[in-house]
């Protein structure tokens, strides 16, 4: 008898995304396609809310729907924590991280449609992390001008600043990609086992990660910016 655990649960997941088609020299991968679908959905949602819902909400204050309460609660979470941690810059930081957290949450939830989520690609996490890195440096120098350079006299601070985008990217990629692999394992289980288990597994490995990772990304970036400007 031979012991071959690999044949029991075969996972055909590769870390780099697969190329779907080429536009000239540009390779369009499956995560790029799902990222653009996510962005399209977010932009359409924002336009619909702005054009059709907000004018109606402004006119009448008596009838408050659940959808309105939900939107106001989400906006309030981001606005108040940005104002609390970033002071005057909260007016920019709050909406900015609302957009990024919306992208991370909806992008991770794209897994439910069967596409590979954009956040399970290291490049997406790295792009989001680099945005945070640029914002941290920009606000630090904008608030404290040249005094910010004193902060870099200590080489430990240089390392801890440079490592920020990588730690944000790897945290997002690691948690979403491990959840993606585990969901692949559950979907590829033998018959009878793959009927009810995905319903339980996707709550833990997709919905939970989507909410927790977007919150942690927003929270960590805001506190790093708060550290830079204090």
């Amino acid at each position: 008898m031979s012991v071959m655990p690999q044949t029991v649960l075969a996972v055909s997941v590769s870390i780099p995304p697969e190329t779907v088609f080429n536009i000239g020299p540009l390779q369009v991968t499956d995560t790029m396609v799902s990222a653009f679908v996510t962005m399209l959905a977010l932009v359409l949602f924002a336009l619909v809310v702005r054009i059709f819902f907000i004018p109606r909400w402004r006119k009448d204050d008596e009838h408050v729907s659940g959808f309105r309460l939900f939107i106001e609660a989400m906006v309030n979470i981001f606005d108040s924590s940005a104002r609390e941690q970033n002071g005057n810059y909260g007016g920019f930081v709050g909406p900015f991280y609302f957009a990024l957290a919306g992208f991370i949450a909806l992008g991770t939830l794209m897994e439910l449609t069967g596409m590979r989520p954009p956040t399970s690609d290291l490049n997406a996490g790295l792009a989001l992390g680099l945005m945070s890195f640029v914002l941290i440096a920009f606000f630090g120098f904008h608030k404290k001008k040249a005094r910010r350079l004193l902060h870099y006299c200590n080489p430990i601070n240089v390392i801890s600043d440079v490592v920020v985008p990588f730690s944000l990217a790897l945290r997002l990629f690691g948690s979403v990609f491990s959840g993606y692999i585990i969901m692949h394992l559950i979907y590829s289980l033998p018959v009878y086992l793959n009927i009810a288990l995905p319903a339980v597994g996707s709550v833990i490995f997709t919905l939970f990660h989507a909410l927790i990772q977007s919150y942690i990304f927003m929270f960590l970036s805001m506190s790093f910016i708060g550290e830079a400007i204090e």
Partner: protein, 86 residues
Amino acid sequence: MVPVLTAIMAFLTSADGLQAIGAGIAGLTGFGAAIAMGIIGGKSVDGIARQPEAANKIRSSMMLGLAFAETTAIYGVLVAILIMVL
């Protein structure tokens, strides 16, 4: 019993078996992360019980600490995945 044991030994000393052992060792990072999360949660509950009016501040720094502790566990998972997939 002996053929089973020799088959298991043969698998463990093969390239695939060593890969699986390495991934298992990488998974042990969960040990440290779990201890860290337990300490963070316990201490913050301690702090909130002593001073309930500071609950919001304690909770936000608790979330920060939890995020950092969780990162080490995620790095362990990442290394295990890289060992298994690559």
